[in-house]
Symmetry: D2
Subunit: 161 residues, 4 copies
């Protein structure tokens, strides 16, 4: 098993530049999160872009879809900003024979109480467990990628019925 | 969906008593770990015992099996010490119609770099994703409960082939 | 001994608003930092303003000076943004009979590897140990408030000779 | 300024060995704590022994005193177990021309909410600020080494009057 991890930015990767008193998307957090843990299966981390998810365009989603289709792996995790994660999930609909799990974080991975490690653990378990399809793992839940939205006011993901 | 979480002790729950300079099994860590996160599905945390897994007996495993069989939920997570986690997994073999996922941690949840949140995230995702059966989630992997052992020297879980 | 703690904002107090993907000055971090510790002397935390230190004006510094002069306590800690901390230290020059220690953090207190607790511990020790005067505690050093500058490129405080 | 840091063990340095489900004194935590921070003055970390402070003997305290007397530095920090820290402070009484500050932690430095970084920050500030003598920095306070005891029941340090 080789799990391909694509990273496109979002809150999970946010870091802070003191010089500018600003908060920007940094290198993929999932890289150092997994380095800190005792992981023994094969995985590859590839940064496709580093964007706030509100800034992602149709062209960005086409690029992500192409990357998912092109990789040899059939188990793919994508770390992504939360605001438009469901849109990207839907843009990946219909890829045959691959399990794709999107995740991210509500607080940057460098925060003391970030949900990043919890979510990444969930995404890795889901990508190994689910049949082909597109899923979102957030708030401790495995959502079908076509049946989830972000409730921005409540800052959580909600199942569509 | 209501996920039943049983806790039986182990490293994940270890705390430190300064007065005695000793390290003992405390209250279930998964309780406060999930309290810190933004979880919106129903779950129930029940402490069955608080033991080092090396101290667990056949009677303890029978008690765990009984609890799994008795609960109304068909999605069960068990936090457990790592040393005999595979033995308990095998003692749960053959329960019909329930997905059971065991997890724990190689470092106590109160440590800065504990794998506890990562593992718990994985166990929750696996219990929602897997068909009925018994599984272990450790080291970022979802193992079949009959096909896994702990490599004590390497301090990691290994798939049996 | 009652230590008066004034908070004026800066990186130490920065929090992150996911909704806006922005990083803003929040409530004083020194409050919850000290709440987490086992502190038994009397102290009072007072928020005077919540500003990036680059935005602080002469009027702000006059307000801080007035607060220091007015408090009954003769042991005062000020948490402050790092960029203009030396300017504020110099604006407090000449207050008689009071020990004033400024500190802050290079990374927000909510970060996993923030220097906030380390710096706050240093500031509290210095304010109890130093004779009347104005000091800055950063990077593990106790600086004379008139003899220190921030080296912005190196992101550290440097003694003037 | 070169600060000499001697380490003799105690809770601050406690680590956990999963294999043995035991908690033992490890390498000096102050070393990696300071490595994580942005420190630019000269300091040297020397491990003299690695003991629970309850196990320390008069011979151990004589060895510590000899080390303090022998070092070229006149600014010395000692990380020490909390239970007999006051005894060691008193055993260092009367060393001329040197400022000695003992500190430690109520929870191991590897814990998420340890007081270690806060205490170490305080000890470093005190050792730079205090005249020659022996001091203990714990619970955010700078105590005279002759006028402090540990209240074991309350798990805190208390000033003797």
């Amino acid at each position: 098993m080789t799990i391909q991890i694509f990273c496109v930015g979002g809150t999970i990767d946010k870091i802070y530049f003191d010089a500018k008193s600003k908060y920007e998307v940094g290198a993929p957090a999932i890289g150092w999160l997994l380095d800190e843990l005792s992981i023994h299966f094969n995985y590859q981390v590839t940064s496709l872009m580093a964007k706030d998810s509100l800034d992602m365009t149709d062209a960005d989603r086409a690029e992500i879809r192409k990357a998912v289709e092109s990789t040899d792996s059939d188990r793919i995790v994508i770390t992504h900003g939360t605001d438009t994660m469901p849109e990207t999930a839907r843009a990946l609909h219909g890829i045959v024979g691959k399990t794709v799990v999107l995740t991210g974080a509500l607080a940057p991975a460098i925060f003391r109480n970030s949900d990043a490690a919890f979510n990444v653990g969930g995404a890795l378990a889901a990508v190994q467990s689910k049949p082909a399809g597109v899923y979102i793992v957030m708030n401790g839940e495995v959502f079908d990628g076509n049946l989830v939205r972000k409730d921005v006011a409540a800052n959580r993901f909600v199942r569509l019925d």
